[in-house]
């Protein structure tokens, strides 16, 4: 597993993705809003891409912040 392995957090709605980005950035956890990759679903809007190594911390932050996520997927 390389240090740069990436995952995406997929949300039910972009509204949740924007909230999540805010919470993670406040905690200085690097992440980027990217279009939902086509093979991952027909969702409109954006998902949150981040290093796989930080996914667990991110999920904990989002749980505290009461932001629901749909699922986590590998990116690329």
């Amino acid at each position: 597993m390389t240090a740069n392995e990436l995952s995406v957090l997929i949300f039910y709605t972009s509204n949740h993705a924007f909230r999540a980005e805010k919470l993670l950035k406040q905690a200085e956890l690097a992440c980027k809003l990217v279009p939902v990759p086509r093979h991952l679903g027909s969702e409109c809007g954006v998902c949150l891409r981040l290093e796989t190594a930080t996914v667990e911390s991110a999920l904990a932050l989002l749980k505290t912040g009461r932001v629901e996520i749909d699922r986590v997927e590998a990116y690329g």
Partner: protein, 386 residues
């Protein structure tokens, strides 16, 4: 003789001017961002979506609400009240309201009454105030909601929102509050006042443009219990033809007034920097000066509490021998002072205050109204009274 500058005293209808930065934020959005917030995946849509998220957070900061995703944006407070009332109430439910409401509350309630919802209208005193002791005896086994205005848009009278909220909570009822006249001008702590559904408008004391407002849905309200007012595209769960159940999408179909929200976000940001408590103090000073000045003029009746600590910056009055429409017309034509006259979309309030059906003249100074302008308004009324 040079024409006098305009003296806008209709801030209760909409605030004007807005603070520095509000128009600029809207122009910046139009010229530099422009996109539909969040729905498309590109950088402009993302920038717009971040702005809307920021606007949700601003609303939460102002009202001490914990969850930005429970801020539902809409066109104005009327839409928010319609969502709360039509969304929640079923035939056979009982709802308690007051006799000082604006038609944005009363018209939906009277319509719902004809559809089988039971309604109790608590009688307020002639100065517009509500005795909280009237609430408990009105509660029935089928009461589900107390729905009330925070302050009158006619006489400015503040109603005891926190006290009524406490009673609602004690009896397991939900409380809906219309904050059109108070958000941004009077400190509001949503959880501390036990407000479950908080309807707000963006274009009055929140200093946003017209076409903004919304409903903050408190933690105790299960979103599934509120039927949406509109269904449509939400940019989510797009493979389904059913409305999503999660917030805020459940109640935000169609494209939001993004440029409006850019302005609202700037307006609330300006308020947060200054502090609502400081704003309230400044408004109280101007309001009391206005009340005192008008009360010193023979033939002028000032309605309501006449106490700036018990009302907002909204002063209704009548003059002997001059109807409100005549007075309003002369104020604009001869003195370049803009006011609202008549019934202010609140026939119930005017009945309570004793000014139905003729209505009143309403002076509504704002934060940017100077003391010199307050004096100018008093002088104008004095000269009309002679």
């Amino acid at each position: 003789m040079t024409a006098p500058s305009l003296l806008y005293l209709d801030n209760a209808a909409t605030s004007w001017p807005k603070p520095p930065g509000v128009a600029a934020a809207m122009v910046r959005f139009m010229e530099e961002i422009g996109a539909n917030p969040g729905r498309s995946g590109h950088r402009l849509s993302i920038e717009a979506g971040r702005m809307v998220e920021s606007a949700r957070e601003s609303v939460c900061s102002l009202f001490n609400a914990p969850d930005p995703l429970r801020v539902v944006f809409g066109a104005n407070v009327t839409e928010a009240l319609n969502l709360a009332l039509y969304g929640l109430l079923q035939p056979g439910d009982h709802v308690i309201t007051t006799s000082m409401e604006h038609n944005s509350m009363m018209r939906p309630l009277r319509h719902l009454e004809r559809e089988g919802v039971e309604l109790t209208v608590l009688p307020c005193a002639p100065d517009g105030s509500l005795d909280p002791a009237l609430v408990e005896p009105a509660i029935r086994r089928n009461t589900v909601l107390i729905a009330m205005i925070h302050a009158s848009n006619v006489a400015g009278t503040l109603l005891p929102m926190a006290e009524v909220g406490r009673i609602a909570r004690q009896h397991g009822l939900l409380m809906l509050v219309d904050t059109a006249a108070t958000a941004g001008a009077v400190p509001i702590d949503m959880p501390a006042s036990n407000i479950d559904l908080m309807a707000f408008t963006g274009h009055k004391a929140l200093f946003g443009p017209t076409g903004t407002g919304g409903l903050v849905i408190g933690e105790r309200v299960d979103p599934k219990r509120l039927q949406p007012l509109k269904r449509g595209g939400t940019g989510s769960r797009s493979e389904y033809e059913e409305q999503p159940e999660f917030l805020p999408d459940r109640f935000e179909s169609g494209t939001l007034n993004a440029v409006g929200l850019a302005g609202l976000n700037a307006g609330i940001g300006w308020i947060l920097e200054r502090g609502v408590t400081a704003i309230q103090a400044e408004l109280r000073e101007k309001t009391q000066a206005l009340i005192d000045g008008l009360m010193g003029i023979p033939g002028v009746q000032v309605h309501g509490t006449r106490d700036a600590r018990r009302q907002t910056a909204c002063v209704s009055f009548n003059m002997d021998g001059l109807s409100p429409s005549e007075a309003g017309f002369r104020l604009d034509e001869e003195f370049a002072i803009q006011v609202r006259i008549g019934l202010h979309c609140a026939p119930a309030a005017h009945r309570t205050l004793g000014t139905f059906p003729g209505g009143s003249v309403r002076f509504a100074p704002g934060l940017f109204t100077s003391m010199a302008e307050i004096e100018r308004a008093i002088t104008a009324v004095r000269s009309m009274a002679q």
